[in-house]
């Protein structure tokens, strides 16, 4: 805080004092009235500090209750043998982590979680960019198409997952039936590899419109003069888009890519609704394992350890991606 006798401080006191005087005319027991009564009319830097704390406290408190406390509680639980079957949980150090990381199912789920997030993100970014270019073009019924394209994003993930479960279902699903007409037989949900492809496809289908609309916003920010200048220079469609448009929207796409990877590391509903992690554990992801340990196995210690590993994974991706992003910005 600056010198209490300075002109600025004096001005602040006068204006604060005026505000407080005004607050005295507020309805009794309203927040402003109460604060004014508590602090009195004479404003000092100390009192302003107290006011600042009072004003920030609710938000801070809510943040503490909803984020920091659960995080710390989860971190602590991961070091205990807490479960529905243990009356008094005790500290067991890193045992849960040893168990979880030593389990082949976790290792497999970790690999698929990363594969799922990266593959989905790449396809979403590529698909989203292509779709954005289409939506940015001038043609009749463009507004209608934009609305239709956004529909998958508006459908809750669990609903689309259940829908895809039936679409991919052998015997009754529309996709295998169509492929059968072309003499192509794929065991979509009973073959480990194809089940992985299927869940990624379903996830991409749902997220592409979102990416497309964000990129579309970026495309609309590209000045028309740039296109015109490029045309005058004789640049074709491919050159305009690869050398002018793409670099301009690249920061946006990288930011979206980072967000999508982080979101998709935490994917649960698509897997839950479509395959339940199957066949076997082929489409098992870490959040689903954590869910199973917490709500089916009622083993809170192990589930918390899995959640912390998931958190560290997201953190690592976030930090790395942010670092790369900054580097890209500087180079750009």
């Amino acid at each position: 805080m600056s010198d209490p006798n300075s002109v600025a401080a004096a001005r602040m006191r006068v204006s604060a004092s005026a505000a407080v005087t005004e607050a005295f005319h507020e309805p009794r027991f309203s927040l402003r009235w109460t604060i004014a009564r508590i602090l009195g009319t004479v404003w000092t830097p100390k009192k302003l500090g107290i006011l600042a704390i009072i004003l920030v406290a609710p938000a801070l408190l809510i943040r503490m209750i909803t984020s920091i406390y659960p995080f710390l509680a989860t971190a602590w639980t991961s070091f205990t043998d807490s479960s529905a079957y243990v009356q008094n949980p005790v500290f067991i150090g890193l045992k849960n982590y040893e168990q979880v990381l030593g389990n082949p199912a976790t290792q497999k789920a970790l690999i698929f979680t990363i594969t799922f997030a990266i593959a989905s993100t790449i396809l979403e970014i590529v698909g989203g960019f292509a779709l954005a270019l289409l939506l940015n073009a001038k043609f009749r019924l463009r507004s209608l198409l934009r609305a239709v394209v956004l529909l998958p994003w508006a459908i809750p993930a669990i609903v689309s997952a259940l829908g895809f479960r039936f679409i991919f279902s052998q015997g009754s699903g529309i996709l295998p039936t169509m492929l059968e007409y072309m003499n192509i037989h794929i065991d979509w949900l009973t073959s480990p590899l194809w089940a992985q492809v299927a869940v990624i496809m379903a996830n991409v289908w749902r997220s592409v419109p979102f990416i497309a609309f964000v990129v579309l916003a970026g495309l609309q920010g590209v000045p028309d003069e740039l296109y015109e200048a490029a045309k005058v220079d004789g640049a074709g469609w491919w050159r305009v888009h690869s050398q002018i448009v793409l670099p301009l929207v690249m920061p946006l796409m990288i930011t979206m890519g980072v967000f999508m990877i982080i979101f998709q590391i935490g994917t649960f509903d698509t897997i839950y609704g479509m395959t339940g992690g199957g066949p076997g554990s082929a489409t098992q992801v870490l959040p689903y394992l954590a869910y199973q340990d917490a709500f089916i196995g009622l083993n809170y210690g192990r589930s918390s350890a899995l959640s912390m590993i998931l958190f560290l994974l997201v953190l690592a991706v976030g930090v790395c991606a942010l670092g790369r992003f900054r580097k890209f910005e500087v180079e750009l």
Binding site: S172, G277, G278, P279
Partner: protein, 422 residues
């Protein structure tokens, strides 16, 4: 001035506390819903699977008329895993959206272990246990009781029944398979026509366990020991898929999809729960009695077997109107009410002596009696952490059946993961 302010704040605080107390007292759900004489009253919420609600509504109305307690239905989860997912978070924060819940075997053992269920009243338990047949009494002791307390009363005692489309088999010059070898023979004969000789939906979560436990019972094995019988059962299940006698896609099927396949004449025989007995006749275009014949389970190396499990009523410890909930469970489990319920809905058929005596000469109760008397029924494989162990069987079973691991790995992994649970 400061003193005055303090007085005002205290006064306001006092008024607020008083108002809150008065409001709580006035609210319909606030405070106890029991009267001063402790006679259960008010309203309770009963979470029951939706399909059974209209069927038993008239009986519930009788209860309301007799006791003055109104019962509001809520749509209860259809699987144990959904039930645990929905209710454990509420129970851990000592609240419950329901006063009475319908629980399956694995979920009741988990919820009782968690200390989230209230022990049921002695009156209800005594009248109920006196009415149990021998097989059901054993299951009741195994699943519903813990440390001398009873946490659930079965209103449904399900067997995996065998259905045979005898019309379809006869049209192909075949008869219902009676053994595992017969299933293979029939499968070989029907394969070219795109018909499977046997099917059982085995998707995750939960259904793979149901199927493999069924085959393990027929192999005479113990699933949680991963013994020779278990190995035989797993190998037989894989053989059926590999040879094309059972649909591989059943690994992703729900029971509705299984029924659909059966009623499309794509499956000749199947294992299914009681509810198919209502589903088949409802499909008027397809149904004929000879298309859905209840037959004996096929015999494996351990004999013709199936296993029994069930759903029953429990009262959460955090139930808002516990006394009325207890009264409800007590009333619903009286022998004469159990008979009415069994007549109203197949989801309320049990192997209680009263029910079998009253209804055991017709319908599904007759088959239940026949299965019980013939020694076909084995108990559901028990484990104190059944919800988790069934998940383990699901994953390892599916991994083996889809070729992600060989039989020896599957058996050793099953043993290891079960041992890790302690």
């Amino acid at each position: 001035m400061k003193t005055k302010l303090m007085h005002r704040i205290l006064a306001c605080g006092g008024i607020a506390v008083l108002s809150a107390g008065l409001l709580a007292g006035c609210s319909p759900s606030g405070g106890s819903t029991s009267s001063s004489s402790d006679k259960p009253s008010g309203e309770i919420t009963y979470a029951l699977q939706s399909f059974a609600q209209p069927q038993i509504k008239p009986i519930i109305d009788e209860f309301t008329k007799e006791t003055g307690i109104t019962v509001k239905f809520a749509s209860g989860p259809a699987t144990d895993q959904d039930l645990l997912t929905q209710l454990v978070p509420a129970f851990t924060s000592n609240t419950s959206p329901y006063d009475v819940i319908d629980t399956g075997d694995p979920s009741v053992s988990a919820l009782a272990a968690g200390g989230w269920l209230a022990p049921l009243s002695d009156v209800a338990v005594k009248e109920y246990t006196d009415d149990l047949s021998a097989g059901m009494a054993a299951a009741h002791k195994q699943w519903n009781q813990k440390d001398g307390n009873t946490y659930r009363l079965y209103h449904n005692f399900e067997l995996g029944y065998s259905w045979s489309n005898e019309a379809l088999l006869a049209a192909n010059g075949l008869t219902t398979p009676k053994t595992w070898a017969d299933i293979e023979t029939v499968g070989a004969a029907l394969k070219a026509k795109g018909i499977y000789s046997f099917a059982d939906a085995a998707s995750k979560p939960g259904l793979t366990f149901v199927y493999l436990a069924y085959l393990t019972a027929q192999a005479g094995g113990n699933l949680y020991q991963a013994d020779a019988g278990t190995k035989q059962a797993f190998e037989f299940a894989k053989k059926l898929i590999d040879e094309g006698y059972a649909p591989k896609d059943a690994l992703t099927w729900t029971y509705d999809q299984q029924n659909q396949a059966y009623m499309s004449d794509r499956v000749a025989t199947m294992r299914q729960w009681t509810f198919f007995n209502d589903v088949a006749p409802a499909n008027k275009e397809w149904y004929a009695p000879e298309k859905a014949v209840l037959v004996d389970p096929p015999a494996g190396p351990g004999g013709a077997k199936t296993w029994a499990g069930g759903w029953g009523m429990s009262v959460p410890k955090a139930a808002k109107n516990k006394s009325a909930a207890m009264k409800f469970v007590e009333w619903m489990n009286q022998p004469e009410v159990a008979i009415k319920l069994a007549k109203a809905s197949s989801f309320f058929v049990t192997a209680r002596t009263s029910v079998l005596d009253a209804l055991g000469t017709s319908g599904i109760a007759k088959v239940l009696k026949h299965y019980s008397d013939s020694g076909f029924v084995t108990p559901r494989p028990y484990h104190p952490q059944a919800a988790k162990t069934e998940t383990i069987v699901d994953e390892i079973g599916q991994s083996y059946l889809t070729g992600q691991m060989n039989i020896n790995t599957a058996m050793s992994e099953l043993k290891k993961q079960l041992a890790d649970l302690g």
